[in-house]
Amino acid sequence: MSDDHGDDQSIAQRVTAIESLLVEKGLITSDVVDAVVETYERDVGPLNGAKVVARAWVDGAFRERLLDDGTQAIGELGFGGAEGEHLVVLENTPDVHNVVVCTLCSCYPWPVLGLPPRWYKSFAYRSRMVREPRAVLAEFGTTLGDDVEVRVWDSSADVRYMVLPLRPGGADGLAEDELVPLVTRDHMIGVVR
């Protein structure tokens, strides 16, 4: 079944109606709704997470703090907030690959990755990643050898997870700000290695 749907036009009208009524009754102001939207359209997205990863790749002491208490270490870079109050960073190693899903809905570490992409919220991803992770990873072009242990993390409570990917080979001479663009959201969810 597709996640697409026929009722978005009527839903859009109902959302407009709800906002219109709340404004008319003086219960909310438009600038507050705007500020929430702009936070994720402008300020908070996966670039934050990429900066965290790049720092961990060049600074061993930061990497240790990051793995010990993700929330606090990520706060050192100025990042944190809603849906990131208890961040746990999962380290990929040559022997271990981590991948994150939320089968209940869409739990996701907003302060470091922004809001989740559509596929993360899709029924296909939510239903299958916990049961056949290697098959789903292969659909993302990620094929793992039998010697790599796959660890699937279903975020079901208050902890939010982010993957610390392996530093790519050949990136040894690069500075921190040159490493940032090598990190994608897919790496930090764990659907690519």
Binding site: D8, I18, V32, Y40, L47, F79, L104, C105, S127, V152
Partner: protein, 211 residues
């Protein structure tokens, strides 16, 4: 959703790889998201929208897009909270052009508070609470069929795993006082049988779910 069959491959738009992809794809999706946060900050609805989303009739849930489910959830929570009635929403939706779309007034204080809430370092959450289980303990997830909002997916019920970490204490969604939440590791075979892919599944579970 965990473990259900029949949803096919994970379909991904090529644009969804970019670090700067826009989080909303329709204006109403953005307004829905903004309203969920803003109405919570203003105390206009009771609790989370999750219970309301989970009360959507299953066939409708599966036929609705993600933000359509959020929109249904925030509407139900606003009605339950007494801020709006379904009748007035019906009426306004039929003639949305009749109502205001933007407020004349602003609320800079709340804008600043929300900015700090969404985008600023926080202390690590989780209270110190008594924990009945220790790291290394083998635990079995209780069999149950709860009605309403919970955080124990069906696919782990009845399965036995190992406590890997005591995350801390948080209130269960229907409680006010913190309760121990554990990271439990399951061997994939203990969830899906002998044909399972090798590997481990980690999930955080409240103490009440475990025995």
């Amino acid at each position: 959703m965990g473990g259900m069959h029949g949803f096919g491959p994970v379909v991904r738009d090529p644009s969804e790889r970019a670090l700067d992809e826009q989080p909303f794809h329709e204006p109403w999706e953005a307004r829905t998201f903004g309203l969920v946060v803003a109405t919570s900050a203003k105390g206009l609805r009771t609790g989370s929208t999750r219970p309301a989303i989970e009360r959507i009739e299953p066939a409708t849930y599966l036929a609705s897009s993600y933000y359509a489910r959020w929109a249904r959830g925030v509407e139900a929570a606003l009605v339950a909270g007494g801020s709006l009635t379904s009748a007035e929403i019906d009426l306004r939706a039929a003639m949305v052009e009749a109502g205001p779309t933007r407020s004349r007034s602003t609320d800079r204080e709340l804008v600043a508070a929300i900015a700090a809430f969404l985008d600023g370092p926080t202390r690590t959450s989780g209270e110190e609470v008594a924990a009945a289980f220790d790291v290394g303990d083998r635990v079995t997830v209780r069999r149950m069929a709860p009605d309403g909002h919970h955080r124990c997916p069906r696919y782990v019920r009845g399965a036995t795993g190992t406590i890997e970490r005591i995350n801390g204490g948080w209130p269960h969604p229907d409680a006010d006082t913190p309760e121990a939440v554990y990271r439990v590791r399951f061997d994939m075979r203990d969830l899906w049988g002998d044909d399972a892919e090798p590997g481990s599944l980690y999930i955080d579970l409240w103490e009440r779910y475990l025995s």
